[in-house]
Symmetry: C2
Amino acid sequence: MQAAQAITALGALAHETRLAVFRLLVQHGPEGLPAGAIAQALDLPPSSLTFHLQHLTRAGLLTQRRAARQLIYAADFAAMNTLLGYLSENCCGRGAVPAIACSPPASTEAPAPR
Amino acid sequence: MQAAQAITALGALAHETRLAVFRLLVQHGPEGLPAGAIAQALDLPPSSLTFHLQHLTRAGLLTQRRAARQLIYAADFAAMNTLLGYLSENCCGRGAVPAIACSPPASTEAPAPR
DNA sequence: CCATAAATTCGATATTATTCGAAATATGGG
DNA sequence: CCCATATTTCGAATAATATCGAATTTATGG
């Protein structure tokens, strides 16, 4: 990973709303969530949400797909993995660090409803 | 670690100059480097460097100490460790992740000269 | 003290990011 | 087609960040 990519990804995560969006999507695994559900969960006006979703997507941290008239966004675990790898190798002192494997939560669905 | 702290740290690293500064200091371990040496290494005007050093310091990623008339900055490995822990736990899918231990490079001095 | 060195603070400017209402675009069903 | 839904695009105001020369502060050695 290049430094420029890392900077883009770090900048994408370095915002309250976007970090919240990303964390929410991480919890929902590869299934992802439609934009509307995210807007509802985080109580954001649609145009603001789009702005942040695009920011994260351009940074390579989200994937987008359409299902009927919904646009579904999902966290890109590989990208997060790459970012953590970069930080470990370049900002963490010793080179080789035991691989951190980002992967969807056990239940790929919503967090266990108790 | 709180989300707000993570955001501050991510934002501090999400900049070309600051990431370069941090990486340089990571290579130099707890000894750190005086501001002047950093300015020279990265070819930055002093007032710009101060701006970025303060940004990183406020974010908790650097420590500052004085030696005679020099101000010496060093990477805070514990802070970086905490940040990676936050990202692993909150943005990486599964909770428990094998601890990533940030610690100074083998040679606490300049990177091994080949 | 004084001169010098090291770094910061000030200040003015330029650039980039964020917010979000209103209008536009796509999609699917009837 | 037409309507309703889901989301994006546009645009324009506001706010936050970055840059860096010049002046200032802090510390040292003679």
